[in-house]
Symmetry: C2
Subunit: 227 residues, 2 copies
DNA sequence: TAGGTGTATATTGTCGACAATTTCCCGCCA
DNA sequence: TGGCGGGAAATTGTCGACAATATACACCTA
């Protein structure tokens, strides 16, 4: 359907580069959530004209990092409990589906790669005990592989291009990296096992539970922050 | 999360207007599937500059009607069996989820409105027996209402803004309007009943079956076209 | 003082032209 | 004759300036 996925395609145009920079800045909170976006200011800051900047803004809107109102400008999204729950509700279903499809379509070679990846991440995780950055990267990597394994380009596009930046934004800015580390690893292992056994139904179920657990974890943290 | 949904927001800017025109042109086959898109040509044709046109192209890419390659231009998507199946696979799951959520979140008033809508469409359908345009419109209308009833803005965005134009393109260009008319109406009725009973699980199941039936219908037509 | 109105400012949307890249075509060579 | 550069044409990406719209502020009125 298309050859190399945009998510892992390296930037070739100026708009691509500035998009990545702004994406990172928003996700990491460098540009505050809820703040207004000024096109002239950003253009100066990244030293380019407004044309490629606006192209980048269009794509930022696509991945839900900003909201635009015609003739009135753009704002960075505001993070909310309701938004987070809606997002995870969708993730649960979509990644569950991705697992089911991955069980049907992943090659043995791809499965082996994911397993190696898990072992590798686990060992490097033990060394860097507690450093959440590596957990984050490893976690994302696993989910990405499974999603790509579904071989459904629409599904891949939605999850990797449109939803994941926002997921990361919530994780980074609300500090969602609790003590689920080793448990998450076990869950990942169980999921890839189900995929390897070509048991799509089970893989679906396990992934839904995996994400639901993560969601409950977040809900708890939010709740005790609010009180 | 946001007030009025972009799908039903009337165009205010020139880019909005040309977007709608090109969308219609592509969906109806006025601009052939698979054909290359020339920015200068379209700009002349719609009598505006390339800036708003490029804005429109960015959004067309978002709803999968065109595919862009950096520095090399854009092409209208090509319709394929594989693409259609992948699309419907996703639809089944997402609209199933939408039903489940609608059963939880739709107000009684909204449910009543949908029921009135169904009766209305049914009666006008009987009059215009066989005119597929009205079936199409009525069908879309029903699905839209249910999706909006989910109250999940991410889900709404994906289904109404990003996937439905492509769904319509397949329906229009491959002539997907078989003799499922009255059966589809019954299925719609069953779905809204389940939602009214707040039986999300059943509503989910019925919607999946409803779309799966539509998919099988399409597969059959494709198959006998190919032979 | 509160509210509305009108102007001034700032921001977004659009335009036409230039730069960079790709594509196409022609000639050249094995 | 077939494949491989090289250059010309066309197309996309980027720029700076102008037009249209929205926001902010001061002023006037009740």
């Amino acid at each position: 359907m298309h050859q190399a996925h945009p998510a892992l395609r390296q930037p070739v145009t100026a708009a691509d580069r500035v998009l990545q920079e702004i994406q990172r800045a928003i996700v990491e909170g460098d540009i505050a959530a809820g703040s207004k976006i000024s096109e002239p200011e950003l253009a100066r800051r990244f030293d380019l004209s407004r044309a490629p900047l606006r192209e980048a803004l269009a794509r930022l809107e696509r991945c839900h990092l900003i909201e635009r109102i015609p003739n009135a400008g753009a704002r960075v999204v505001t993070l909310s409990t309701a938004g987070l729950l809606a997002l995870y509700q969708l993730r649960e279903n979509l990644e569950g589906l991705a697992c089911k499809l991955a069980a049907e379509h992943m090659t043995e070679a791809e499965i082996t790669e994911v397993r190696q990846l898990l072992d590798q991440h686990l060992s490097s995780q033990r060394v860097r005990e507690g450093e959440s950055y590596y957990q984050e990267a490893g976690d994302l990597d696993f989910h990405y592989r499974v999603i790509l394994g579904s071989k459904n380009s629409y599904l891949i596009n939605i999850l990797c291009d449109e939803l994941y930046y926002l997921v990361r934004m919530y994780r980074v800015q609300l500090g969602m990296n609790g003590p689920r580390v080793s448990r998450a690893f076990d869950e990942h292992k169980a999921i890839i096992n189900a995929i390897a056994n070509r048991d799509g139904e089970l893989a679906d179920l396990l992934m839904r539970r995996h994400i639901a657990a993560s969601r409950r974890n977040i809900e708890l943290q939010l709740q005790q922050m609010g009180s």
